[in-house]
């Protein structure tokens, strides 16, 4: 088979960014959860919160490290694979990425050292502050990167000079029309992902009777977060969708596989969208539902793909990714409410619930990836909507080079993902107290002469 270097470059970018997003999706939320554990311990003096912190800070450290190293790849990739993007849109992308590094990366990386290893070297207040700064840093980093991503989706505040993007207004660039929706949608997604990780691992620990009350406290924290946030996410997602309809109608048309502009468009639950015949095969539809969801009017108009001939994204993958995201989101609401109902006021749960929570541990990953595929593939063929096409910015590498490095990345990532999940499994079987001294180094190596 002969591979197109352009397709390979896109697959490589997708592989790198898909792998990377898994870890911030957990650490952005887990940072705040850890701060909550620390504060509860400071307030109540209950040892269970201390155990909760001790156990989860280890998983946080591991997750954070995975996120950092996979993120470095991203910062180089713009140059190695998409030099045209920086040449044409560097005036926007550069400063936003720069602010992310300056305001967030150093902050989180520096105070992480104190948060992880400095507890006996600084005051409790300083340690709490460090934990706060780490959580704040991860969130601030999400702010900048989502601002840039949103600008690529809905660019404002710029003008073109010889094909190069020049900035008119930084406020309009940073707070572009889709940014608030995408930022909150993603933040809540991170919170939900970490809530399900926390609840799922705790359910697994509860099934093995590890750490008693601490495990149940953590599980409840995760479950309550999920029970509140999962429905909020549906609402925010709905608003995000309406915003997309206004600014990127071609993406919506692909998400819903609407081929012809119509009023009172149905919501298609299942179909095999066929780009050749421009029809949906085996469609199962709910009449008027798409118009109702998107325009809040059963007879509202939804633009069809026919209006974006040649400049609309591939339909089937966007359509299906969207449905996967919706399905996982729905499942999250059900499981979270079921768990919240069972766990109210007590520390017991039925086995089916504990198994269900365990199975849902990484459900957030599926939803996050599916959601990003919708929004990123849904932006195609543009890299900056309406301004710059992906195919015009790609670097000129041979298929062999790209295929070779892609193969290397996939092997490395598969190995790391297995190791990451394996390590969480390994740690989960152990009580927090037994892990307290195994951060790095053993107690018997403490300063031999001192």
């Amino acid at each position: 088979m002969d591979f197109d270097p352009f397709v390979l470059a896109r697959i490589q970018f997708a592989t790198n960014i898909s792998f990377h997003i898994l870890f911030p999706a957990i650490s952005v939320g887990l940072g705040w959860i850890l701060l909550f554990f620390r504060m509860r311990f400071t307030q109540t003096g209950d040892k269970a919160w201390e155990y909760a912190y001790q156990f989860w800070v280890k998983i946080f450290a591991l997750t954070f490290a995975m996120g950092v190293v996979s993120g470095i790849t991203m910062s180089f990739q713009f140059g190695t694979n998409w030099p045209g993007f920086m040449e044409k849109a560097g005036n926007v992308a550069g400063p936003l990425l720069g602010y992310e590094v300056l305001s967030a990366f150093f902050l989180e990386a520096s105070f992480l050292g104190i948060m992880l290893f400095g507890k006996d070297r600084v005051s409790n207040r300083m340690h709490l502050t460090s934990s706060f700064l780490v959580a704040f840093g991860t969130t601030l980093s999400a702010f900048w990167i989502l601002s840039l991503n949103s600008w690529m989706q809905t660019p404002t505040g710029y003008y073109l000079e010889d094909g190069v993007v020049m900035v008119d207004s930084w406020m309009e660039v940073i707070f572009n029309p889709s940014f608030p929706y995408r930022f909150f949608h993603m933040l809540i997604a991170c919170m939900l992902t970490s809530a399900f990780v926390v609840a799922g691992v705790s359910a697994w620990r509860a099934l093995r009777n590890v750490d008693g009350p601490a495990t149940w406290k953590v599980m409840k924290t995760g479950v309550m977060m999920a029970a509140v946030l999962a429905p909020v996410q549906i609402l925010v997602g709905d608003l995000h969708g309406i915003n997309t309809l206004e600014h990127q109608p071609a993406k919506i048309a692909a998400m819903e596989a609407v081929w012809e502009t119509e009023k009172g468009a149905p919501f298609t639950i299942f179909a095999l969208p066929d780009e050749k015949t421009k029809t949906n095969r085996y469609a199962i539809e709910v009449p008027y539902a798409a118009s109702l969801i998107l325009t809040h009017d059963p007879n509202g108009e939804v633009k069809g793909l026919e209006e974006f001939e040649g400049v609309h994204p591939p339909v089937a993958i966007v359509f299906w990714s969207f449905r996967v995201m919706l399905a996982v989101g729905g499942l999250m609401v059900l499981v979270a409410w079921w768990a919240a109902w069972q766990l109210r006021g007590k520390n017991t749960a039925t086995k089916p619930l504990l198994y269900a929570l365990s199975i849902m541990t990484f459900s957030g990953w599926v939803a996050v990836l599916a959601g990003w595929y919708v929004t990123e593939i849904g932006r195609q063929p543009w890299i900056v909507s309406g301004v710059l096409k992906v195919q015009d910015v790609v670097a000129d590498h041979s298929s062999a080079t790209l295929a070779g490095t892609l193969f290397g990345y996939i092997l490395l990532y598969a190995f790391l993902l297995a190791s990451y999940i394996g390590a969480i499994r390994h740690l989960s079987g152990k009580p927090a107290a037994s892990l307290s001294l195994t951060a790095i180094g053993k107690p018997n190596t403490i300063n031999k002469e001192g």
Binding site: K58, A61, L62, M66, V68, V69, I72, T73, S75, F76, F78, G79, T80, P83, G84, M86, E87, G90, N91, V92, G94, P95, G98, V101, L102, S103, F105, F106, L107, S110, G113, I114, F117, G118, D120, R121, V164, M166, V167, W170, A395, D396, H397, T401, T405, G408, L412, L416, S419, A423, T438, A439, I440, G441, K442, P443, N444, T445, N447, G450
Partner: protein, 330 residues
Amino acid sequence: MEYWLPIIYMGIMGLALLIYVILDGYDLGVGMLVPFAEEDEKDMMIASIGPFWDANETWIVLGVGVLLIAFPIAHGIILTSLYLPVTIMLMGLILRGVAFDLRVKAGDHRRGLWNKAFFAGSLIASLAQGWMLGAYITGLQDSTTSLLFSALIALTLPALYLILGCGWLLMKTDGDLRNKAINWGRKAIWPMGLGLFMVSIATPIVSASIAEKWFTFPNALYLMPIPLVCVLCFGAIVRVLYKPSVLINGYSWLIYASTVLICLMASLGLAYSIFPDIIIGDLTIWESASSVKSLQFTLVGVVITLPVILIYTFFVYRIFHGKATALSYE
């Protein structure tokens, strides 16, 4: 503004990369030394860099970030031509970074594997960085001389990192491990010295423009302090390595500090050699700079955050000051 902004950014980028070399250099150096230590010493060595490595690594992200922010065209050209070494370096850094955690979290039966990954990642990243530097200095050419020169720096930079690593261990450890660090230092210092010497000879040979800049009167006179300081620092390192009583009597910082001074001189020399080009013989910093408005907008952030970053970096180093102890989350 149009004249000065690119120069200011060139300075910031150089500073970020210099800080990267002297900080992550010792991490990578320690990483390459890990296989030569006993089991409990491995833990102590990694404990000595544990609280810092993550922030140290961020400096290369800033360095590349400034290249991207201020010189987007050069960013594209440089990283596209360095595609393979960059990819290999990234894989090395990924392995090294995750090994920190996984060697103690994946279970005892996996510890040996992750110790090896830690070593391999550090070595691969160091070699690749050396290669990238070499390719950059020769103007990203594909000629045989350019490849040989890249290979030379690919071997010299890890040796320099080893000395930084030894210098770090001398400050942060004592007892047997410190004695070992002195021995490692004695082995690494000669390849480093030879490498730096050969690089100094080879650079003006592979680049005519650099030769012209260095060997004309009176410039050559003004530039004399650079090689002179390097020779003095090198002499100081050799001297204390072979007379360790000096080190033990409160001068344990001497090797690290001397190596930092060598790095500083080398980067000043490099900056002088290439200025005002950003891609030697091809593109000047002004030709590849971003719009003034974008540079101004980011400069505000740099001016506010960079001093703050330096202050809290200093603060973190002070908290973990002194000999390393086993790291625990307690």
